[in-house]
């Protein structure tokens, strides 16, 4: 942003004016820069403060739980009957993990397949159709997915399985799979597109078929990106609440079958948090569940960051 150098002697008269004007503009720019710098700094500090407060407040209330009951009771007991002072969250933890796993088992093959289709195989017009459609799917509020699950998916599952209720892990996993599909697909898509063209050219030059190129070269090269896509999908599946609450049945018991009404951490929190007293063990244990979810997402995001760093090193 320095004042421009004038080499033309014929214009010295005017250039003096110009220099003056330019210095003025330069100062103005500097002021603008410093203001925006402080503004950005303030924004990031405010964000950190809010995030810190959230963690502190949830954590503080959550840890109060262990002044009332022991960690063993909370983490390893399957008996959740708060009305009778039994606060075992093990069933919810196990259910949350199995729901996430089931969701990924359904969603990952489909979404990675679609990503390959989008990036490698599909003609241009199909690509320019699929990508906006997937982006649109992200914008639908989760409660709408839940309502569709309740009114369309559940009656269908009841007919197919012959169960009376149909609520349970399978229904929730199907709804969640539809919800995480765009996330996983679009990010994997980007990762696959980012694989350098020379890798493919080299593989084709060696006489590989298209399938071989995709399976042996492109997917391995994009694997880190695909894994972060899967983990991002996982964080969405772990934390999703409204859609799950409508199709899972909300019965605090360990899911012994795919169709048994059951409950996960998020659905249990949302069902009960508004009905419990402020300073009760019940309230503390719900906060502990929230804190647990926070920790799970934190760990998952850490994994993504580590993967990203490794890729840069390579």
């Amino acid at each position: 942003m320095g004042a421009p150098v004038h080499s033309l002697t014929a214009k010295t008269q005017t250039s003096l004016e110009e220099v003056k004007r330019n210095t003025k503009r330069h100062r103005r720019h500097l002021l603008g820069n410093s203001i925006s710098r402080y503004y950005f700094l303030f924004s990031i500090l405010a964000l950190c403060l809010v995030l810190g407060l959230v963690i502190v407040f949830i954590g503080k209330t959550a840890l109060l739980l262990f002044t009332r009951i022991s960690p063993q009771d909370f983490f390893f007991s399957f008996n959740w009957t708060p009305e009778e002072d039994a606060f075992g969250a093990a069933a919810f933890i196990v259910n949350t993990l199995s729901l996430t796993a089931l969701t990924l088992v359904i969603a990952v093959p489909i979404s990675v397949g679609m990503a390959v289709l989008c990036a490698e195989i599909a003609p241009k017009w199909l690509k320019s159709f699929i990508r906006p459609v997937l982006d649109l799917l992200v914008g639908i509020p989760s409660i709408v997915y839940g309502y569709l699950g309740l009114t369309v998916l559940l009656p269908f599952l009841r007919r197919v399985s012959g169960e009376g209720l149909g609520d349970g892990l399978l229904a929730a996993a199907l709804v969640l799979a539809l919800m995480v599909l765009p996330t996983i697909c679009r990010i994997s898509d980007d990762a696959i597109v980012a694989v350098p063209r020379k890798y493919r050219d080299a593989a084709y030059a060696l006489g590989s078929t298209r399938l071989q190129v995709i399976m042996r070269v492109v997917l391995p090269a994009a694997s880190r990106g695909i894994i972060s896509a899967v983990i991002l999908g996982m964080t969405r599946a772990v934390g999703e609440t409204m859609a799950v609450v409508m199709v899972i049945g909300n019965t605090p018991q360990l899911a012994k079958s795919l169709f048994a009404p059951t409950s996960v951490l998020t659905s249990n929190i949302v069902m009960q948090i508004s009905n419990v007293e402020f300073d009760s063990t019940w309230n503390y244990s719900l906060h502990m569940m929230a804190f647990l979810l926070l920790l799970i997402s934190f760990v998952l995001i850490l994994i993504i960051r580590l993967l990203g760093r490794k890729r840069r090193d390579a």
């Binding site: 009114t151 009841r158 009376g164 409508m246 007293e277």
Partner: protein, 287 residues
């Protein structure tokens, strides 16, 4: 020109007169100002909103903010000082099963809320006794043929613990009986709306809900001990599943809060808007 002048003068006079008369109304209401926050029961929320709308027309300087989250949040919010009025489907100043009394709070009766047992439209049963309901909700009766229906498993749908509807239904329809917690055909829903959808879309389902929600063709209300669920039967005392709705306040209400509660309890509101919303006036039960 003259005509225009005349017209202007008349128009101005009219405007001034109208303004003055409005100012007169406003001046009369000036004495009351303040801010009232209402929190709590979703069942009472439509009533509160309607009352707030009418009350604010009478007293433009009073601001009323109302929200619903669930019965027990009402007295809790009052206790924490977040709300002036806590709407609750039970008298929270005394102990009820599962909930301790809120000390120092006063319960102001504002309405009568009837509740109904509902079933999916495919269920052939149209009358259930207290004993039968007790058996169904305790998990002892699991097939509709045991209570006179077709051979199909009963799907029990209930509200989450802490719901005012559940507290009242358990006390009045089940005679204080237990509600099963961990069963295969058992499901909990979070709100009256969810309950209605769940019972309406699940064949062989049974549930319970505020009578005002019983509309549409997917659900039907069943008779309780042979008595049909309607407002007339609540008033004449033959239908037993109903409860008072309360406005909980911290001590005796004062100022604008007091005026507002008195407005809701007034004959004009009880016989007018409250009835239109399908609640029952409190006076109907006390006479």
């Amino acid at each position: 020109m003259k005509i225009f002048k005349k017209f202007t003068v008349t128009a101005l006079t009219a405007v001034i007169a109208v303004t003055a008369s409005f100012a007169g109304v406003a001046a009369a209401a000036d004495s009351l100002k303040g801010k009232i926050t209402v929190n709590g029961s979703t069942a009472l929320l439509p009533l509160t909103l309607q009352a707030a709308k009418e009350f604010q027309k009478l007293h433009p300087k009073v601001k009323i903010a109302a929200s619903g989250k669930g019965s027990v949040t009402g007295p809790q919010a009052v206790k924490k000082g977040i709300a002036d009025i806590g709407a609750c489907d039970w008298d929270a100043s005394i102990d009820v099963p599962g909930f301790k009394a809120f000390d120092g709070q006063v319960a102001n009766k504002v309405a009568v809320i009837p509740f109904a047992t509902i079933v999916n439209k495919n269920v052939g049963v149209d009358n259930l006794t207290t004993e039968q309901l007790k058996g169904i909700y305790a998990g002892k009766i699991t097939n509709w043929k045991e209570v006179g229906g077709s051979d199909a498993n009963i799907v029990v749908i209930t509200r989450a613990f802490g719901s005012g509807t559940r507290v009242n239904y358990q006390a009045k329809a089940l005679g204080g009986g237990d509600i099963v917690k961990k069963e295969k055909n058992y499901k909990e829903t979070g709100s009256s709306g969810d309950m209605k959808t769940a019972v309406g879309t699940t064949p062989n389902a049974i549930g319970y809900i505020d009578l005002v929600y019983v509309t549409g063709g997917d659900i039907k209300a069943v008779k309780f001990n042979g008595v049909e669920a309607n407002t007339d039967n609540v008033i004449n005392g033959s239908y037993k599943i109903w409860a008072y709705g309360y406005y909980m306040t911290n001590g005796q209400p004062t100022g604008a809060t007091k005026e507002f509660i008195e407005y809701v309890q007034s004959k004009k509101f009880q016989q007018g808007s409250l009835k239109k919303l399908k609640f029952i006036p409190i006076s109907a039960m006390q006479s």
